[in-house]
């Protein structure tokens, strides 16, 4: 390292440092760009309703209060009841979507990665076709389809719809993972006495856990944040998911900004927790195959 450093001319080194600083400043701007709105959300959520709309704004709330949170999380009053129900609806829809996506994507991705069958290329790319168009294009056709299936105003309609987004991506992601697992591992297992299925279950599956987790996070977040379809397919108040629920909830009367911000913050909690807990796997998943082991 040091000998290489010595060989670099002064100007060369300055150039390197210049780039490094430019990079740091760029990253700093990006961090502020993403973090500041969140900080503002948090600050607003602990203000009183009056303080939140004051001009010039209070940068730091003079009388911080957790009243908004208490209201949202209190099952006794109607606001809290609605919020908790939306929360549960979102959680249910996202979890079922994720479980189904993983359950279907794992065998599908494995088959695409390992087997050669007629129509394989065609099927693989047709899986992607769905993701080549903006989501709204499918809004009306899917609505008609859901009505025909009798699923309008059920969570089933959302789960099915989210799967049409999530599955292709999940299959693509996971196929990359299986491609990176040497086929010789399965062959060795089969020679060691495993059936083809056992080889998959005992050897390949454990190795693809990081990939499965990454895929699950993607699919969960996608379903958790989705708005347009949820707003179109569901009309009954007790079925709404969080993004739609929060929006309707607070625009009915004058907007309660601290309440809105507190709800938004609570909505981001599961995703953040999921990320922190599984972060280790997620990072590994994204860098998998970057270096030769």
């Amino acid at each position: 390292m040091s000998s290489v450093g010595n060989a670099v001319t002064r100007r060369g080194r300055k150039g390197v440092d210049g780039w490094r600083w430019a990079g740091r400043i760029f990253l700093l701007i990006m961090v502020l760009y993403t973090a500041l709105p969140m900080a503002w959300m948090l600050l607003t959520s602990i203000k009183s309703g009056f303080a939140a709309t004051q001009f010039p704004p209070q940068w730091w709330p003079s009388e911080p209060t957790l009243a908004s949170y208490q209201k949202l999380l209190d099952p006794q009053n109607s606001v809290g009841q609605d919020f908790l129900r939306f929360f549960w609806n979102s959680f249910f829809v996202s979890t079922v979507t994720t479980a189904l996506a993983v359950a279907v994507a794992v065998p599908a991705a494995y088959a695409f990665s390992r087997f050669r069958f007629p129509g394989r290329q065609f099927l693989f790319f047709s899986v992607l076709l769905r993701n080549m168009f903006p989501a709204v294009i499918f809004l009306v056709p899917l609505f008609i389809l859901m009505r025909w299936l009798g699923l309008v105003n059920t969570h089933g309609s959302l789960i099915l719809t989210y799967l049409t987004f999530g599955l292709p991506l999940a299959i693509w992601l996971l196929k990359g993972f299986y491609d990176n697992i040497p086929v010789q591992l399965e062959q060795a297992a089969r020679i060691d006495g495993a059936t083809r299925f056992q080889a998959f279950l005992l050897i390949v599956m454990p190795l693809s856990v990081p990939g499965i987790i990454a895929t699950a996070i993607y699919s969960f977040i996608g379903a958790w944040n989705e708005y347009i379809y949820a707003a179109t397919f569901l009309t009954k108040n007790d079925q709404l998911t969080l993004p739609v629920g929060i929006q309707r909830f607070f625009s009915e009367n004058t907007t309660d900004f601290p309440g809105l911000m507190a709800a938004s913050f609570l909505m981001s909690v599961p995703v953040v927790v999921l990320f922190l807990v599984l972060q280790k796997y997620f990072v590994r998943a994204l860098t998998e195959g970057a270096v030769k082991h």
């Binding site: 010789q184 297992a189 089969r190 020679i191 006495g193 056992q198 050897i203």
Partner: protein, 365 residues
């Protein structure tokens, strides 16, 4: 232990023949090396025997069972893969135990067998590590150990030493040979390193382009190559091959070069070239059977030195003879220089003659 018989084995990928009509018998307890250049179908043949890929046609017999349609797990084989294929998430102990667990052995027996295999291979101190924490040589031993814990009818090994450095390779070579002698195991061993094949195997099967070229003991393959491919593939440096023409001088059969010189043939060699399908004949000679003279002597042919490579105890010389490169070995006491004219003398009893059209070796009878 058991014998393995391949009958007219064919494997095609689309229109490509990866193995074409391969027939050979590996006797019980025999060590057979499968050699050939890259892409000749060695791995394919081994995978066919293992049952990892379906055969296109032909039969595979292990012991007294036709195993064509059996799963790999039911063929009673063990395999060492070229890249070891150790299970990354399992410790060395778990890697070795896996084949036994799959066969539902009692726990105590598994423990005993794994410890015994580890002792033999000297990897007892590594049992709790994971594969990525091992050196290449250690991983190789574990791969060997995983095959060794069961005693299968046949061992299949696909270039198990190719990832090791030269010194470790020599050491592991003798360990595998030792292992074969101790267990009287039937082993099919793929390698592209002919030195490995010659030093370890009872028989070698030379393949090229999916076809089995020759199947015989290493000594016989070396002494009597059946065609020009085997002649040039086996032996290092390679056998020199010089295309010439058959002619006759005063009623004696000779080989003529385009440059004008002739090489008289012995009576036995004359009978050989008489069976050639045309006048084109290829002269083959190994480096150690060619004598080099600095002046013209009777029965010698002229050549021009191209390169000189002293290696210490032997000096290798390459010379141009009738437009072809010829390898010659000399004692270090003889000195020649590039571009020097020299005269080569061939040992009539040890030269090889090949049909210039069919590339097959010519026989005297």
């Amino acid at each position: 232990m058991a014998q393995v018989v391949l009958k007219d084995l064919v494997k095609t990928y689309g229109s490509v023949y990866a193995a074409k009509d391969v027939s050979l018998t590996v006797n019980d307890g025999e060590f057979v090396a499968l050699v050939g250049p890259s892409g000749c179908g060695k791995t394919t043949t081994l995978n066919l025997v293992a049952g990892l890929i379906p055969i296109t046609s032909g039969d595979i017999v292990i012991g007294d069972r036709v195993v064509n349609d059996l799963d790999p797990k039911d063929r009673d084989i063990a395999m060492v893969f070229q890249n070891y294929a150790l299970y990354p998430q399992k410790t060395v102990f778990q890697n070795l135990a896996f084949p036994l667990q799959m066969r539902k052995l009692p726990k105590a027996e598994i423990e005993a067998k794994v410890r015994e295999a580890a002792r033999v291979l000297d990897i007892t101190h590594l049992l709790e590590r994971r594969p990525r924490e091992l050196s290449g040589g250690q991983q190789q031993r574990v791969a060997l150990g995983r095959a060794l814990v069961r005693d299968p009818a046949v061992f299949l090994m696909d270039e198990p030493l190719s990832n090791l450095d030269a010194k470790l390779r020599v050491q592991m070579r003798s360990e595998i040979k030792r292992f074969h002698q101790d267990l009287k195991a039937t082993i099919i061993y793929v390698t592209h390193d002919q030195l490995e094949a010659v030093t370890m195997a009872d028989k070698m099967a030379v393949m090229n382009g999916g076809l089995l070229q020759q199947y015989d003991s290493p000594a016989n393959v070396f002494a009597n190559p059946v065609n020009m491919f085997v002649a040039s593939f086996i032996g290092s440096p390679a056998m020199s091959l010089v295309p010439l023409e058959v002619g006759s001088v005063d009623g004696h059969t000779v080989l003529k070069s385009a440059e004008g010189w002739t090489l008289p043939l012995s009576e036995r060699n004359a009978r050989k070239v008489a069976t050639a399908s045309s006048r084109k004949v290829v002269l083959g000679a190994r480096h150690s059977t060619i004598n080099l003279h600095k002046t013209q002597v009777d029965g010698t042919v002229p050549a021009k030195v191209y390169t000189v490579e002293p290696t210490g105890d032997i000096t290798f010389v390459q010379a141009f003879l009738a437009g072809s490169i010829v390898n010659i070995s000399l004692p270090p006491t003889v000195h020649v220089a590039p571009d020097e004219m020299v005269w080569l003398e061939f040992d009539q009893d040890r030269i090889h003659l090949f049909d210039g059209e069919t590339e097959m070796a010519l026989r005297a009878d």
